[in-house]
């Protein structure tokens, strides 16, 4: 695992609560319903919340939310333009910025049985990865980990690996209910050198 320079993290007292909201001005333009999108993000935030003492809650007030999520095309004001289909899929900013941008040009999917496009990208996998950035993680060299920087079309990678867990727990500590039981022995030990 890796961190941003200076190892920034959200500086509130533990346990902490962070709110997130979707930009009403930059909604996704696809076959996905709002509820499908919200559910995918809820699951992604929940995975991180299960390993650290941080709770995430969807807020109705976009302006007041800690984490602001939106779908954007091309240049969108932060100097990191999106590039159309595939290429760069999304980006998020280090703590405590909270900005989370997805490329509106992608064919975002939550169900590959329904979305047959060869260029479809799993929304939940990308959301889980970008939330790692919002929490302070950088990119890892562990290919199986959520924080590995690339994701192929129609690939799904939503489960946190020990590399992800160790990295984020070094920033925030462990959720009291966290158990190693969900991780395979090989996963636990294969990342011990990181």
């Amino acid at each position: 695992y890796a961190y941003f320079e200076g190892r920034p993290r959200w500086g509130r007292n533990i346990p902490m609560r962070l709110t997130y909201a979707f930009s009403p001005a930059n909604p996704i333009n696809s076959s996905l319903s709002k509820e499908e999108i919200r559910a995918a993000f809820r699951r992604s935030f929940g995975r991180w919340a299960s390993v650290i003492p941080v709770a995430f809650e969807e807020a109705g007030d976009y302006g007041g939310a800690d984490i602001k999520i939106g779908f954007y095309s091309g240049e969108h004001g932060d100097g990191e333009a999106f590039d159309g289909v595939l290429g760069v899929l999304a980006h998020a900013f280090s703590p405590e910025s909270g900005r989370f941008h997805l490329d509106a040009a992608e064919t975002w999917a939550v169900d590959f049985e329904r979305e047959k496009s060869a260029a479809a990208v799993d929304l939940e996998s990308v959301a889980t990865h970008e939330i790692g950035h919002l929490l302070g993680l950088g990119h890892t060299a562990v290919k199986e980990a959520v924080m590995y920087p690339s994701l192929r079309p129609r690939e799904t990678k939503v489960e946190l690996k020990m590399d992800d867990v160790k990295g984020v727990q070094a920033l925030y500590g462990s959720n009291p209910n966290f158990s190693l039981g969900a991780f395979s022995e090989s996963d636990i030990y294969s990342n011990g050198g990181n």
Binding site: D78, H129, H139, P149, S150
Partner: protein, 92 residues
Amino acid sequence: HNLHEFEKLRGAIKGSSVNGISQLKRYLHRFGYLEAQADDVFDSNLENAITKFQEKLGLPVTGKLDSPTVLELMSPRCGVPDFPGKLHRIKN
């Protein structure tokens, strides 16, 4: 970036000048591996950047544009640089 353009760079060797190398240099600059360069020469700076890319992404470290490296370069990815503090600043 049109990442499929990188396919034609497979097997390019140090010292050569190949159309498309400048695009690869822009890519490697964008993700924190290389200072900005706009030429099409496969030079030592590019070799070092490819080596760093291979190390960072857990690929076989050869310093060459071999198949695993080109495949990774062509993969869709997150826009956050792999070394955000070195050549880029995340704008908070």
